[in-house]
Symmetry: C2
Subunit: 198 residues, 2 copies
Amino acid sequence: MRIALHHKGIDYDYRPIHLVKDGGEQRKDDYLSLNPKGEVPFFIDGELKLGQSMAILLYIEDRWSERPLFPKNAAEMAKCIQVCEIINSGIQPIQNLAVMHEVKRRYNLNDEEKVDWSRFWIQKGLDALEKVLGPLAGKFCLGNGLTAADLFLVPQVYNGKKFGVNFSGLPLISKINDSCLELESFKLADPSCQPDSP
Amino acid sequence: MRIALHHKGIDYDYRPIHLVKDGGEQRKDDYLSLNPKGEVPFFIDGELKLGQSMAILLYIEDRWSERPLFPKNAAEMAKCIQVCEIINSGIQPIQNLAVMHEVKRRYNLNDEEKVDWSRFWIQKGLDALEKVLGPLAGKFCLGNGLTAADLFLVPQVYNGKKFGVNFSGLPLISKINDSCLELESFKLADPSCQPDSP
């Protein structure tokens, strides 16, 4: 979401929500009253208070149409959303911090076993995505223009690397990730560049 | 997705993919060559081959605009997608058959422990969704008109009931579910009405 805002040159206030500190700021009453789902990102534009990455990205596209991140053609738009969702709904939710925490707590895992859970789902998801991207990808997920699909891919690759996913069978994904990381909007949105980065 | 097609009166061929029989037809090579992610639903319209529920529903809305399932106003559209995604990305992926199978296999669970995993995530997700719906809901998730959000809600409630979720603190969700089940398009799409129903 940060990447989309940088890409479109939209000014925004960034309010960090630390997911680990003090048991997670996203679980505090203040934040839960705003977003009962207790997750990030969360986006506020005037009266509109919005959770869920896909909803936020589609809203940003509609509200600030310059430098589009979704294709105009209906079939291409559908494929773009498919790729977004393979990550946003097919990978990210099964490997996130809340699920890792719960799997560890329930089944008395050590940290390596906990990480193995997430690594397994990221590997499985990216292996399938690599095949889906075969007929679609160019420099980016959908041909040679940056789309929302790339915005979902890069943070997932970042997590995959952190958790030891094997990228040797993922040449397309690796190449697209490299192409993205050369872009200014991705550099500005990198976790290490945020004001709350440790 | 079946509900959307019935709602809009679109003729379609239904090809059942049995998720349990023979270890799951979605894992067979024939299906994987079509959809490497090995999941349902999958939608074919001419040259377009499309996975991921959200992508399919948005495409159907664009292609067959009669009897709309998404609001026209940008902020309402965003809230609608937020509600869809709380289920589609926030609940469904963590409690589905593939994850249940893996959690059971990895941690040597019995069937009741396996179901408890899914029950936990559905309960947590629906509890949060009930709060999100507070200022939004009428007869349906977003006021008094049926939207895509209801199409995601009903199958998730169906699974919740199957897995023993406690609905006593979920009056809004229960009422919306009842409203939906009175509609012809939901009756026609009920799992028990499909040609492959056991």
